[in-house]
Subunit: 410 residues, 2 copies
């Protein structure tokens, strides 16, 4: 009988990060479609923004020193030379003792170095009374204050957010070059597995729910998804199905058949697909011990346990990290992890990392983690959970009242 040579979670993650190279392919897309995509090369601005000195208030452009000392009782008096039209360039040049009206967002003319808010002024027949002094640069945005020409605005590997798209738009960048989204190929194996579209479920069969969760998880990562269907538990069926799917994709995922039982063919099939083959068979993890990880050429392969909870957890920890490696990006724990206080003792085996399903409730400004108990075949436990509390491999469980790290299930 074949036994596992299990490796720890940190060993496996390190090995994966060493082995999996980022995909080289880049695509150019409209910025409207770039939310969540990964910047392929450092993005450099070809412009100054703004490209003119812009007023941030409705008011009067002045040479600030003309206003020094001005107050309610001792206003400054300055001659009004005209006004700037909204959205228009002005060629006016301000000299000392002169001012022009500028609306919010309007261009501050050359010579001026500040804008007085209209609330602190009074126009008396073309002579402006100013009741409050302004400092140099006050109430205006300088040329290049937002972005300087040649500046890197987004780094390679950055995940694009809404405000990043706004910045690209403000610089007239209609398109952006991003990493091509990886294509994930997925198939399920198991004689008991039927399509989830099966209305009347025969006794003894179960519906393929893993395809649904893995497809959704890929969508969260902006990865494409190709479904290879359900394949019988036999090498003759599994090998050609894997071979043809592997040709089309960047990452191959199989659900089921990953253990060491007599019906588990994924290990043998993966090793027949090519070199280097499987380099992880069995992880010191709960749930999800019978996991396969390897590579065919540059393409990573992942064998998930068939149990729905194990499959989801393993894809969350290792599948998403494979996608990040392929995209040349990294996990940002700001959005994926959170500390919470656990209120029950949870025993665990030293040397093994446990991912314990928890509900998270905010009580008195602290996040409290309540364990959700249940077997790894019981999907509803994951639906009732907000996250996975990490019990690290060096610990023998956690004690009530301790803080644990929780991976958020969004």
């Amino acid at each position: 009988m074949l036994f596992f040579q299990t490796q720890t979670v940190s060993q496996v993650l390190q090995k994966m990060r060493e082995q999996i190279e980022p995909l080289n392919e880049k695509i150019t897309i409209f910025i409207e479609e770039s939310l969540g995509m990964i910047v392929a090369d450092p993005l450099i601005s070809a412009e100054y923004s703004p490209n003119f000195v812009r007023s941030t208030v409705d008011g009067y452009a002045v040479i600030s020193s003309d206003t020094f000392g001005a107050s309610d009782t001792m206003p400054a008096y300055i001659k009004i030379k005209g006004s700037v039209q909204m959205g228009e360039e002005t060629k006016m040049l301000l000299s000392m003792g002169e001012t022009v009206y500028v609306p919010t967002g309007g261009m501050v003319p050359a010579g001026a170095d500040a804008v007085c808010m209209i609330e602190y002024t009074e126009n008396l027949n073309g002579l402006l009374n100013i009741y409050k002094q302004v400092a140099p640069m006050e109430n205006c945005i300088q040329i290049g204050e937002d972005i300087v020409k040649g500046e890197i605005i987004l780094q390679k590997g950055h995940r694009i957010r809404s405000q990043d798209i706004a910045l690209l738009a403000s610089l007239g960048m209609k398109q952006v070059m991003v990493k091509k989204p990886p294509i994930v190929g997925y198939l399920s194996t198991g004689d008991e597995i039927v399509s989830y579209e099966t209305s009347h479920l025969p006794i003894g069969k179960i519906r393929d729910s893993n395809v649904a969760s893995i497809r959704a998880a890929c969508k969260q990562m902006n990865a494409s998804f190709v479904y290879g269907g359900i394949v019988k538990d036999s090498e003759q069926d599994l090998l050609p199905a894997c071979q043809s799917l592997l040709d089309e994709v960047d990452l191959l995922v199989i659900s089921g058949g990953s253990s060491v039982g007599e019906r588990d063919y994924s290990y043998a099939v993966f090793n027949q697909l090519g070199k280097p083959g499987v380099y992880v068979h069995g992880i010191s993890i709960k749930p999800g011990k019978p996991t396969l990880i390897g590579q065919i050429g540059k393409k990573p392969i992942l064998g998930l346990p068939g149990h729905p909870v194990s499959a989801s957890v393993i894809f969350e920890i290792f599948g998403k990290e494979m996608l990040r490696c392929l995209l040349g990006t990294y996990e940002n724990p700001l959005f994926t992890r959170r500390k919470a206080k656990i209120l029950r003792n949870i025993p665990s085996q030293s040397g093994r990392t446990d991912y314990f399903r928890v509900q998270l409730v905010n009580e008195n400004d602290e996040w409290i983690a309540y364990p959700v108990y249940g077997k790894s075949g019981v999907l509803n436990t994951l639906v009732k959970s907000d996250g996975l509390a990490v019990i690290p491999e060096e610990a023998e469980g956690v004690k009530a009242g301790e803080w644990v790290e929780v991976i958020l299930l969004s």
Copy 2:
């Protein structure tokens, strides 16, 4: 001159939540497309899951009492009656002293109440030696242990995640009824505004970057987006543009013209669109004071300040909450907010809520918020930020070392 009657952030949020009714429309979609959608009605299971007793191991189904007392030195001896085929129903009925082989995921026959793992057994010419006793229910999942027929599996208002989709799939639910995504209509006003597709930007003009950030923010909320274009700063232009856009949409957003200057027509136009009109003009908030909120019939309207940072912040706080109200759902702070320690004093005005741009860095297991300084017209400050630190209205700023709540900018 018209002045603001500003209201506090909490007053405005409360008023919005009272005024905005959830949309009634529901749509039925395939579960593959349901990620992030909002459940329209409580979802009830029409099945038991599993619908047969399922083994979680490769092993032998037994009547557990037959194994009581079994050990390495004193095995139990039980007659092997046959084996269960993977994925097949078995009509076998187990009597005391009998056992059948069952693979992982296979059906446990009637009569049996537990499964012995194969590792603790030995088949000696049809007589099974069992070296470890099993408890009742051990190594099997009972009928309905995951889901009971008639059980509510997802509540109304729940935001659908990957594991939820897997549960629906496991129950054969190919489709799900969700809230219709709200349609957001957006237009920009301002004589200085030009399309962000303008390659060569004339001096005095700025590109409409707000359309890009608001469209992306709507996408994050799974809302549809209709772009009404850029409209001149005049009542004659703005009124018909708003009227025709309002007819098509569930929420109308205008960027610019929301203040009280001579070029600000949004307030007057909103009030001409219908009743009840504007009920918030000016919020005690920084940035984004000149904000308009109202309703035409049941449709909420939002007038954003034109400054890009203000527009993004106001849409984040109020626009997204409008969408949640329309969807009949709620903010889950687990994914949107986080406490962080601020390392600088930030002064603020009592009675006003400040949203201060911050970078978040994890240091020694604590999230530290570093303020990002800059004017509200300077979009790059938002790009450099990970979140918005909330300085509450009752506080006069925060002191270095204090913990603040941060809204995450994902």
